[in-house]
Amino acid sequence: MELLLEVDHLQIAFQTDQGELISVDEVSFELGSGETIAIVGESGCGKSVTSLSIMGLLGTSGSVIQGEIRFNGSILTDCTENQLRRLRGSEISMIFQEPMTSLNPVIPIGEQIAETVRLHQNKSRKEAKAIAVDMLRKVGIPRPEAIIKEYPHALSGGMRQRVMIAMALICKPKLLIADEPTTALDVTIQAQILELMKQLQQESGAAILLVTHDLGVVAEMADQVIVMYAGQVVETADVFTLFRAPQHPYTQGLMKSIPRLDQHKKEQLFAIPGAVPSLKEIPSGCRFHPRCPLAVGRCEEEQPELISAADGHRVRCWMAGNTEQIFVNHTVEVTV
């Protein structure tokens, strides 16, 4: 498979009032064309920041201070703003979490879609409009000729997300970054949107970088999975391996936190104790050790490297290989 995106030892920092904060550290992964990779983790673990850094959209306070992002032969981290702008929307595009707030409320939908076409493909207003109508039909929007004149507020959340997808895919990008594309949607709509993304991916051959905290979405969509914790990659594997044999205690905790229909009624839903540390107080050693039931002295002192546990399965844990069956006895019996 042809390598499309390579993220190599990425470190991202933000300038704040309290000085420089490292938000993402030691993040590396590769994505082949046509493949889907998912980044999972709790809020604030750096998954959105990583995806925004690929687009070069970290804003004025954020910057990549170490590492490289290579895309299709060019090094994105060395590109000028103008070069990046030519890639955005044409080669790499993005779908955001909130379809309610991600569309401009005072510009008609057709114009918002056609704008991208006119910018990157040198098409006339009329041609761009026709392309936009076609694309809207492709993403399953009924009456696209009428809808292009509508404003975003006239559409439902699911429809708006379809518009976002149409907008992102209109220039046939090689890479689609989807930042929590279904989080703000109803469950039934979620399934439709995921199905649509899959179908369009098969037609266009685009690679997808999916950012989510929903393991259900991961299981549905991803080939490869990256688990992030406190700005670092803690485990990466193909989707089957990760679900069958997660190695990192954090990944295992996440798996256990999924509510299951066959769960005993009196059993309380599992949760990983504690909370994600803030960027200002990153723990020493392994960043997960204060919440880890397996932590030993070494975890507190030395930071583990991402080591290979099996072919294509890498874990950042001192206990890797010995972590089976943890958390099992942590469930609490609740008397009703």
């Binding site: 959209l57 409320p105 005072v106 910018l119």
Partner: protein
């Protein structure tokens, strides 16, 4: 929309009559009356009494109001007590210059405030931002009459670049360029005052919009920062500004009373001042009518414009 406008106009009618009644009462509560204001000690008391009787000033207030209202409904605003010219003619002669001055000042004010506010917001907390907000604070704080006098002294008396007052050169041929030359100083004063107040609104509104996620979407399309700011952000930021500008128009007319005095601008500001000083009741009532019409119609126009620029608002 049409339905909404009709309903708003129907509501405005009783409000309008309420305004005329209240202003009539308040006006009559002010000490003195038109006849006393003629201040000529040589006129005997009996003559004054006769004059009062003739002008109907001895009637009960209610009767006076109904008489005025009857005239108004027939399209007759009465005659000025001091110049004896028809009130409608007096106002008709003066309203043009005032509207010209007020609308030019508003335009200049907005043309200054929008770019300054936008640039200030984009470069938030930079030196440029501090300078611009500082200047806007200055523009708001300087009393217009003071700025007017300062400019007259500098540009008119010291440098002799611009005329110090009036609307046309006395004895001159007039013409548009002459009027524009006379407008520069008063429009600058009012424009600066308006811009000073509006810069903060534009800046705040723009700062709010710059946080919005749809700007990230726009950037993710590969649009340049110029398009992101001026197409995607500005259109949203200007929506709340419409209300603020709408609310400014009645204040602008009030403010022009003073500025018209300072620059001897032949508008309704001067007429208002003269009418108040001579307790010229019919003229004052006529001027109140004009003010009420302007306030009510700007409110309505503001609301209609709001719906026109913001697709999320509809009055149906």
């Amino acid at each position: 929309m049409g339905h909404y406008i009709v309903r708003r106009i129907m509501i405005a009618i009783p409000v309008f009559f309420g305004i005329t009644l209240l202003s009539f009462l308040i006006m009559n509560m002010a000490p003195g009356n038109p006849v006393d204001m003629l201040i000529n000690p040589n006129i005997p008391k009996e003559m004054l009494e006769l004059k009062k009787e003739r002008l109907g000033l001895n009637d009960p207030l209610f009767v006076q109001y109904v008489k005025w209202l009857g005239g108004f409904l027939k399209g007759d605003l009465g005659y000025s007590f001091s110049s004896f010219a028809p009130v409608s003619q007096l106002i008709g002669e003066r309203i043009g210059p005032t509207l010209l001055l007020a609308s030019s000042s508003l335009l200049v004010g907005i043309l200054i405030a929008v770019p300054v506010g936008v640039i200030s917001a984009i470069h938030q907390n930079s030196k440029l931002d501090y300078i611009m907000t500082g200047l806007s604070f200055l523009g708001t704080s300087i009393p217009p009459f003071f700025l007017g006098l300062g400019l007259i002294y500098m540009m008119g008396i010291e440098l002799k670049w611009l005329p110090t007052g009036g609307m046309k050169t006395l004895g001159g041929t007039g013409g548009i360029s002459d009027i524009i030359l006379h407008m520069i100083l008063p429009v600058t004063v009012l424009g600066v005052t308006i811009a000073g107040k509006k810069v903060r609104y534009v800046r705040a509104s723009m700062l709010d919009v710059l946080q919005q996620e749809y700007l990230r979407t726009a950037r993710a399309k590969g649009l340049s920062e110029f398009i992101v700011t001026n197409k995607h952000a500005l259109r949203n930021a200007l929506i709340p500004i419409i209300t603020v500008v709408g609310a400014e128009i009645p204040l602008l007319l009030g403010g022009s009373i003073i500025i018209e005095q300072v620059f001897q601008w032949p508008g309704i500001g001067q007429l208002t001042m003269e009418a108040i000083l001579s307790r010229d009741y019919p003229t004052l009532m006529g001027l109140n009518l004009v003010a009420a019409c302007i306030v009510l119609s700007t409110n309505l126009i503001t609301d209609i414009l709001y719906a026109a620029v913001d697709p999320r608002i509809s009055y149906n």
